[in-house]
Subunit: 419 residues, 2 copies
């Protein structure tokens, strides 16, 4: 069996677990995305171990070195997962109009800023009380800040409420949130490198990120609105869709190169192409890609979780504290920032939806914690606590969001409520 | 930049090169698949070198070991490419009815058997004249036998002639071809391991392969024809398509596990699902996946080619001989086997289409040669010659096929001829 054939087994298992768990959770009336995440935990290397162990054919390709083969396998999982979350955020962007987003701009900015500042302040305050180094405290607080909007976007898509004002505030805030989190990460990484974070370097990073988002949003939208009529002049099969995929991969890559999350570029690509004449057709054609690739993201994210860390009471206590502050900080930031955004009679629920929608940390918290660990700044017990925080915030949001939308009469049609 | 973000750059470059070259070749009136293959040669590690070199972020993930990082990068390319060719053969299978294939059964069997026997005999005769070991001769002849049906399927799909009797003979023969090539490979691998190939082991392999194909085709078709009406009872979003993808990945994986090419399983999955009530809907939803994933297969296949081997006259002579025999053997096998399949007035062209359609060796020849090289049986110069044979047969077939179909009046509507 070749190395590729051996990896194919894993991809099949991931897809089977995702669809099986999705079906069970649909029948239980729960969001299928939770099923996919838990399926990942279950078949992942820390539980059943069906994933993560390279088979003989793969180890042979690495001259008998199982560690390199395992690392390569992890890379394959994460690349396919990344394609999935890129496609997901592209499809979410396709349902988002720039004009709608600009209308919620000031509120989204406030949600983004408060949603970073409050969890960071609370996390730092909590960590200073622990017997840890200052640098560890700063890194841990940073791991609490970044929202992973993929989970919320998926739940809102499943509920059919991506068109609501709350969804637009959350998506706008996620862009700002990502820029600020990236800056904070740049500061702590610079500090952990022994040097001080240069104000010029940070200003450059900030300028790049804001420039990228502003340029793509403002110029891209106009260009697409004006020239999409010429897409059909290309000769390749189904040119508009091919071009849309090219723009999505391109902006996602560029976004990754300048240090933002690739999904921000994918979201912007979708938003820009929402202005194209072919918007409906693109949305329609993106659906099969979403169905095929997105489950890989959620199962692979779930597979990172090691439930074994729950056996150490000290870790559980630390994790409990961090999780509590991560939820309270983000929820407060979102709720305060979004206050007054909905209709007067459901102001509270509208703000609560934004607050809850910003809570999931997903893979972003894990990535920051991983960087800290690889630099020797975050010890294993704190890493495990951050992992628990990430998964707990991620698992908590979908049922809460669903409950908020379900118990909020008049906003959902019978059709979307069933989804 | 993370390791995943660094790989994303490569995937973007592959997609950009594929779509750009596809557009140029469409405008030149040539099959876009050739553009994609040549784009792969151009940006591959042996020419411009845009692919194949791991970036710093990726090397860091492999503890600074560039060789392992490069191997991991190669694995990612090949896994994404494999998903592409699986989706391609699934979509081809969806347009194939089992009853149509059984009707061409005896002819396809003859094409498959002769298409293996003639190139092997010619290749072995030629190699015996060279100053090489017997085992090298046998391995080289084996590398000449296996057709890579992906290229032909793509060209016929682009020409809109997948429904013709020639396409069905080629697809049926490809299944038989793959089973026989696998057996031949098993024999030479056993011989190169020092032992004799046990007749029992070979009988087991053959039984497994035939059993798999027969079981999936006969039982699967009935089950799908009878139970596809119940697909809708599943609760997951768009259940029929999800189930179709699951069956495709499952059969492709199983096919790989028992030693056949994964694409045989994918083709069978498509053929079985062609009996489902939702066949039209499935075909429609598979198209975006084809557009997104298939280009990776052709660019990655092209990137394997090292044009540098052309500088050695001895290699060129050897390659010329092998290529000539590979084309003549396969063409003769296909033409003789298919003789009498078409309408009387175009018997010759019909047989010629099958003959040409079986010629491309694509990645299968490269895989066999790679196995021989890793076992020390195939020296570098012969390996290079086999690489040239693979690419030459692959590049020769699409324009010839197109010419045969274009100069064959009355079989193409204006619509499909334009494609």
């Amino acid at each position: 069996m070749s190395d590729v054939a051996s990896v194919l087994i894993d991809l099949f298992l991931i897809f089977l677990a995702a669809k099986g768990a999705g079906e069970v959770f649909e029948r239980l009336g729960q969001p299928p995305v939770i099923g996919e995440l838990l399926a990942g935990v279950l078949i992942g290397p820390h539980a059943l171990g069906l994933l993560g162990t390279p088979r003989p054919g793969l180890i042979a390709a690495f001259h008998g070195d199982p560690a390199s083969a395992a690392e390569a396998l992890r890379l394959v999982y994460h690349v396919v997962a990344e394609l999935g979350v890129i496609v997901l955020l592209f499809s979410v962007g396709l349902e988002t109009r720039v004009s709608d987003l600009l209308r919620v701009g000031p509120r989204a900015l406030l949600v983004g800023v408060l949603g970073i500042a409050l969890p960071f302040a609370l996390g730092l305050g909590f960590m200073v009380l622990q017997p840890t180094q200052q640098l560890t405290d700063a890194f841990t607080a940073t791991a609490l800040v970044a929202t992973s909007v993929g989970i919320t976007a998926r739940v809102m898509r499943d509920l059919g409420v991506l068109g609501t004002v709350e969804a637009r505030i959350i998506l706008g805030a996620a862009v700002i949130d990502d820029i600020l989190a990236m800056l904070l990460l740049a500061v702590v990484v610079a500090l952990s490198g022994g040097g001080a974070a240069s104000p010029w370097g940070l200003a450059l990073l900030l300028g790049q990120a804001i420039g990228f988002v502003a340029f793509v949003t403002l110029v891209g939208t106009r260009v697409v609105g004006r020239y999409s009529v010429h897409f059909e002049r290309l000769r390749i099969e189904n040119a508009p869709f091919a071009l849309a995929l090219l723009i999505t991969l391109g902006l996602a890559t560029l976004s990754g190169v300048i240090g933002l999350a690739a999904i921000i570029g994918a979201f912007l690509a979708g938003m820009v192409l929402a202005e194209a004449r072919e918007q409906y057709q693109l949305e329609h054609q993106t659906r099969p890609l979403v169905q095929f690739l997105v489950p890989f993201f959620f199962v692979v994210t779930g597979a990172e979780v090691d439930l074994g860390v729950f056996t150490d009471p000290a870790v559980v206590a630390l994790a409990g504290g961090l999780t509590f502050l991560a939820i309270v900080g983000k929820f407060a930031g979102g709720t305060i920032g979004a206050w007054g955004g909905g209709a007067p009679d459901r102001r509270l629920r509208s703000a609560a939806v934004v607050g809850v929608g910003m809570v999931p940390r997903g893979e972003v918290g894990l990535i920051i914690a991983g960087i800290g660990r690889s630099r020797g700044v975050i010890p294993d017990d704190i890493f495990s606590a951050i992992v628990i925080m990430s998964i707990a915030t991620t698992l908590a949001a979908p049922p809460l969001l669903k409950w908020l939308y379900r118990s909020w009469p008049g906003t959902l049609t019978a059709e979307t409520a069933r989804a």
